[in-house]
Amino acid sequence: MQTHTEHEVHTDHHVHDDHHHDHHHEESFITKYVFSQDHKMIAKQFLITGIIWAVIAGLMSVLFRIQLAYPDQTFPFLERLFGKWAEGGQISADFYYQLVTMHGTILVFFVLTAGLSGTFSNLLIPLQLGARDMASPFMNMLSYWFFFLSGFVMLLSFFLPTGAASGGWTAYPPLNALPWAAKGSQAGVDYWLISISLFIISVLLGGLNYISTVINMRTKGMSFKRMPLTVWAFFFTAIIGLLSFPVLLAAGVLMLFDRNFGTSFFLSDIISSAGEVMPNVGGNPILFQHLFWFLGHPEVYIIILPAMGIVSHILSTNSRKPIFGYSAMVYSILAITIIGFLVWAHHMFVTGMNPSLGVVFTIFTLLIAVPSAIKVFNWLTTLWKGNIRLTPAMLFALGFVSLFISGGLTGIYLGTNFLDLHLHDTYFVVAHFHIVMGVAAFFGTFAGVYHWFPKMYSRYMNRTLGYIHFFITFLGAYLVFGPMHWLGLGGVPRRYYRFDAFEFSSQFDDVNKIITIGAIISVFAQFLFIYNFFNSIWRGRKMKEKNPWRSNSLEWTASIEPIHGNWPGAIPEVHRGAYEYGKDGYEYMPQTVPVGQEHTVEQVTATSSSTNAEVKHVE
């Protein structure tokens, strides 16, 4: 497909060549693959590290689901694998709580923050904006290596004699502040806090970079209003991260002080298990929750906004239609960003905080449903009268929409303070957030990987395997998290090691078995993806055309083989918005095509460009 833009690039090649020398240099293995400063390589590092963490956390969920479905059966292989933590072939309560805690921590922070935002912000911001790299490639590299270090510390904590942290991913004090309160609250929590602190440094380095790149490094013609929605989403995500993560860092440092240096920020009037009155006076455990959720709630938008951006972009590209209501999509992200900072205490309706405060937080929480609704309806309208190409990426994007609807709607119940009195900390909550931010964000990630894999590795992933992966995961996700709503309505509290201590929670044995079987199938179905991913890196079908999805955005004008600096010649210039699909009868129109040069773009439609005017009339 010889387009006008390519032609332009070629003629300008020698003129602009002196602007850019990087790709002439030979790079060593270390600078290319390990301490790389190329945003595309860093994106791959984030992605692959994220995949490894996702496998670990996914297998953890299989383990604790086995415990919940078969609390009375023994599985000798567990003892063989985990020794004292699974004596007699049964997962111990301590181990169970470690698994649950680590599952949450790893997925929320390492996989869905670093793995999702780190991968796609890095890959797409420079490519879609027409920049040769990030504003600070060195900081970008540091961002990955702080993430790596943070993961390393977390991994070490698994092998402590007292085990990893076991007080939940929210690390509430006093349970996590008092070493005698649980086995995992000994060294495990210190490791957890140090790991998360390192992680926050990584997020901040990355976020600063994303923001300055978006503001400063857009190519000529790439006004804010022409940016793809992916970049808008990454931009706001980075802003949220920059404003909220430092608060968690503060909370974590205060907790480290409480644990190790005898301060009383979160502790007061406590009697140890040995009957000893602790000297701490005047602290308040609820204060930590305020600090934690001031990050914790925006954190769910840090997770979901990039997925939304990716999904918007893929839905439009594969519907062959402009995204419906581009500005509304941007403003709704802005609205979510702002309101997202004002809803944190809806996690705390039952902590005894002032009921009037509960009213304010309910109002803001339900208010956030409005921009969410706008997004959903705009996605649906984007599909309407499109020409929908069902690539694996598109299917995952559609799955995301379904999951976001389902999980978003249950959020309306939970955001209402009065209804939260019963539903708080039950399986209803577990179902809600797994669907709306867990699985949905995963679907966004999968969509992104299937869509941009050719950009990363110049090869295609296997489509058929992608389809199998999609249908198993889509149905599996609902099989696992659908029935959990019923458990929650039945009052079953979350974070229970077994359900038979209470009459009201012991009635769902068969449901728990179904959930566990669903979870095992869903987790192992991910190995189809992993096999597909790694196999395709080396053995996938080679990419021969630059723009396989006939997309408008800039990343597909870069060279097929990823090179340092992205464009061998001059940086492309932008003349139009990112979503001109179907305009004036043209099936698509890359952003680089100047106004008046539309006819130079070869279209795949049966109608030739000369008859496009007629097509337009017919429409």
């Binding site: 008092l178 009697i271 455990p285 402009p322 309910t362 208010l367 020409n387 069902l390 559609l398 249908f471």
Partner: protein, 356 residues
Amino acid sequence: MSFNNFLIVLFVIATIVIVMAQIAKLGDMITNLKKDPEKAEEESSTNLALLFIVSGLLFVGLITWSYFNQQPRFLPEASSELGRDWDWLFYIVFSPPIVLIFFITHALLFWFVYKYSYKKGRVGFYFPESIKLEMIWTVVPAVVMIALVGLGLGKWIKATSPPSEDAMHIRITGMQFKWMINYAGDDGEFGDRDIRKWGKEFGIQNLLGLDPTDAEGYDDIYPDEIVVPVNQEIAFDINALDVLHDFYLPNFRIKMDAVPGVPTRIKIKPDVTTAQMREKLGDPDFEYEIACAELCGTGHWNMKKVLRVVSQEEYDEWLASQATAKAIYYQPLLDKLEKEKNLAMQGADSEETVLN
């Protein structure tokens, strides 16, 4: 499952993955062999759209079916006005619009994908914006949300307002991994507690920090179960000694955290006795259960108490049969205090002698 079986299972899973991968490879190869990639895209999109609709019907159908299948196992109708308000707000107010939106949006999603699946040569309809449409789905959800907030607000205020004057207070203290229950006794006054002073003084002997000099506590009772008369407003004054707990009464649709150092409170007014509930459910073993709903450590899943709702006569009878705290808790503390005082006096005496 033994270790060998586990290895076999892993092997089987790996085999399935590899077999699927090979089939998939073949599938892609066949598609790529087709001469007209656009036509191939059209075919595969049509088939996948059908499959997508089927999977949509499957999951929406299964969820609907499983709701009706599981519904009988949910908690029975709440046993207090607050609880019934909850049921009303959840089932009657919130669920109809939410379920409706769920079905409509999903119907549109699956229908559009099928209806507009890829056709060779078709150009997507250029429809980038419609202020009118967008206004509709900004304003309508906003109005619905405001209505929902409004309807929930009154109930929340009612649930969280301070208990009335004639409410019966029960002190609940959470600790790993049990609940301590404290009634005020005949005088209606609780004995003072001060962990910093009296807890320190007596250590493990006085975890609650009871003040042995406060006679108001002598008639308090510390029973194993919570027994309350029906139709009496109960205020639970909640506290914790070590970590966070959460006092959860599923049958009354309410819970509240127990926080060390920060007192919290909820109120309930049960209007169905345990005996009535047993009869209603046909379950002679039914009890109102109290669970912990905030992760508090290894035994979190097993912090159980029973709340028994009885008639006023039964309650009076039960209350009369309970031993007061004087003998159980206070006397040992008083004895110890006395002993220490004597020791101190002796010490002072001997000191005086030395000085002289």
